[in-house]
Amino acid sequence: MASITAEQEKPASVQTASPEAVVVRFAGDSGDGMQLTGGQFTLSTALAGNDLATFPDFPAEIRAPQGTLFGVSAFQINFGSSEITTAGDAPDVLVAMNPAALKTNVQALKPGGLVIVDTGEFSKRNLEKAKYETNPIEDGSLAKWDVLAFDISALTLEAVKPFGLGNKEALRCKNMWTLGLALWMFDRDRQPLIDWLKAKFAKNPVLADANIAALNAGHAYGETAELAGPLKKLHVDPVPSEPGLYRTITGAEAVSLGLVAGAKLADLPMFFGGYPITPASAILHNLVKIKEFGVTTFQAEDEIAAICAAIGASYAGQLGVTSSSGPGIALKGEAMGLAIMTELPLVIVNSQRGGPSTGLPTKTEQSDLYQAVYGRNGDASLPVIAARSPADAFECAIEACRIAVQFMTPVILLTDGYIGNASEPWKVPDPASFEPFPVSFLGETNNPDGKVLPFKRDERGVRPWIKPGTEGLMHRIGGIEKGIDTGDIDYAPQVHQAQTDARKAKVDGVANAIPAQDVCLGEESGKLAVVGWGSTFGPIHQAVRRARRKGLSVSHIHVRHVWPLPANLGELLKGFDRVLVPEMNTGQFKTVLRDQFLIDAVPLSKTSGQPFAIAEIEEAIASFFDGIPDNEGGEVPVNETQLPSPEA
């Protein structure tokens, strides 16, 4: 059954090792159910009390041809007994369900890492599709790794034989067989998955039983240790975390829940206008299911109609929300200008993906920052908030709602494909722990002389919100420049000057209504500040942590409010000799920082569609200190094996 390459033929023994963190990657054909396998493994890992972070990586094609290199779908999970903030760099374990999955993923594997392959899929034809001239399992090209090759397909068929499934259906249980093996390797409880399978296939108990049998067979395969060598049981200790109730959450879920919570805190019904686009559609799908929370969803004819309808709903007194990804956000630009001009609240969620144009629909990037901060005609400033992780997206969504209604302004919430799809454990918050910000609409005229003044500003420069349907407050608004207080059409030179200034001052004033910038790791001054925003939080944080362990004077500053910037950020940055800004773009936030504070911020760019590896940022930090003449530590080596491999 098991065909194990010569070098692994060592005495069989099941040992239990206990590393701090482990990275596992499941890779297979997009039809192999790898995302499902990964998702279930994530759940069992969370239930075991480990902290974790995941990275789903799947192709843009809906059903890419089977067995091809571009049809490979992968799911990576990093879990461990200490705080985890990234999906990990190099995997310790790779499960490759076919030659294409092996080819596209094996180079990422740590030297000495473990590869599990399904020999049942290593047919001549599949090898050709993956562009292998010889079988890598046999030709020695995998020598730097431990390879476990056995016929998972045949083992699965054997396990599900009693259920009388067709060959195709039976083979679909392969992912559960693999998962069973993984559960054994990492000492995980099978029961939650068995419960889940029963619920999932409630209408088809035979399929449930077959999948459970496959799961058990995979587990038993590890247990009975028919294998020798590298396959051993690993126990990862639970991470000590704050007491409370936990669940796993993806960014798309967190944004949806945060919007619902935000609307509730504002005491408003929510109107969501959306148009299908990857990777933002998940928010629409989530909200459709929870309409009992005063949510109306509208799938519009295009991106423009989606935002315009949301603005219409805001005008009528609801919290208008729209969501998209870069190309869709570009189409919404003109309407955002109208919301700025008419000073109506609106939340615009941008799940960023690689660009320009269609770019990389299913991959991640942070390259829409210029678009968010600067990307409209006219002096059209609006607040921009960026979420750093799936769980953080919840609070950011609430914050976006708060600023939108308190300042009568559209607000952009930036997430990205990585945050949207990735999941992490989330301590379920108590809704009562958030400060409500109920909205009050103008109910009677605000003008002693009678006629309502729809653009009369308060001390923060904010106009009243007036719902159509209110007796005696009829008025007209629009995109043309308007007179002070009255809102009547007026484009006299001094009026446009005054209104432009007033709109800018209002948005600048948001800086006084947000928390002061803190340093999330390290001192408030020093040699180097690594400044990040959005989903680079995890790798930056780990890289700074490691650099600090080596005694380097480096701090991590993470900016949530990317526009307007926190009032104290400029002073804070001036306390550091150098500022490094790692971003998944060509240096956009770096430009904003240089512009706002006249500091020599240095970019660290990555635009491969993949998140930063910790090592990449660590290396950049190290090179800073190499260049400093009085650096007593001399050359600082990059930590190459930051996570113990299962072999260690």
């Binding site: 239930l47 936990y246 109107f271 929870i290 109306t296 509208f298 004819e301 009528a316 349907g469 209110t470």
Partner: protein, 338 residues
Amino acid sequence: MNDMTPIQTTLKDWESDQEVRWCPGCGDYAILKAVQRTLPMIGADPKNTVFVSGIGCSSRFPYYVESYGFHTIHGRAPAFATGIKLANPDLDIWLVTGDGDGLSIGGNHTMHVLRRNLDCQIMLFNNEIYGLTKGQYSPTSRVGTSSPSSPVGSVDRPALPCAFALGSGARFVARGYDVSKDLPEVLKAAYYHKGAAFIEIFQNCIVYNKDRFDDFTQKKVADDTQVWCRDGEPLLFAKGTKGLALDHDTLTLKVVDVEDGDWQAAGVAVHNVKNRGLAHMLVEMPFGPFPMALGVLYDDPRPTFESEVVAERAKLIEGKTADLGKLLAKGQTWTVEG
């Protein structure tokens, strides 16, 4: 329209304090007056009335009506109206658009608001030209229209607004023109139709496309060139001496002479606002050999979009309670002990 208690108002109550800024003699003035005359007739309530427009000369309209008004962006008024109506179905929405706004840059939204059947009145002012941008040919301009962007005459074939509306699934299609004394009747019918009501209003742009519709709007030719379509009445014109009949061989309409008022003998068709096939024929009739069909051409209500959205939502949330704490803790959870 909405089911609400009629309010007593006069034409004056619907005039805002804003100075009307259209060119002197513009057809828009007449349409504004017709609307302001119609609103008291139907008992509309200023506080529940919202005029929504896009961009163009006609789109300044909301500023001049004493109600709620939203002058939005080019072509998108139907999308704003959709959000407003879904957020508050009690509001009465009037859309003001033009041939460029509603059929060129906003053609997509016009199509979708019609097929969804959002309850609103859509007044499309058709002057066959871009006025606000100083006279370029528009999607309804006739072939050969000379303009700054077509100095030797335009080559594009024009769109037929009412045919476009029917093709998009509109359940109410009507036609009128700016100075017509019957325009308020058409607007009233549009108001009483529950659902998207599309009204093409021929409007004279006296600066860039002057007297373009004189062929049928001039008093002296009106009788011979206009056929007013009224439900249940024969399709007669030229003071009852001519009528429209179905040509059974070609399955198209034909003009027939009516002797001594005996339209039945002449085979003149009786207008039926629920006959979609007839509506298609009326809007497609080429002007010249045929008169211009005016009035309510089609009126066959269907459930409105917002009522369907409300019903769908009621179904989705039936038996569910909105407990945020429970929602946040949904799915598989685990507890970390202190």
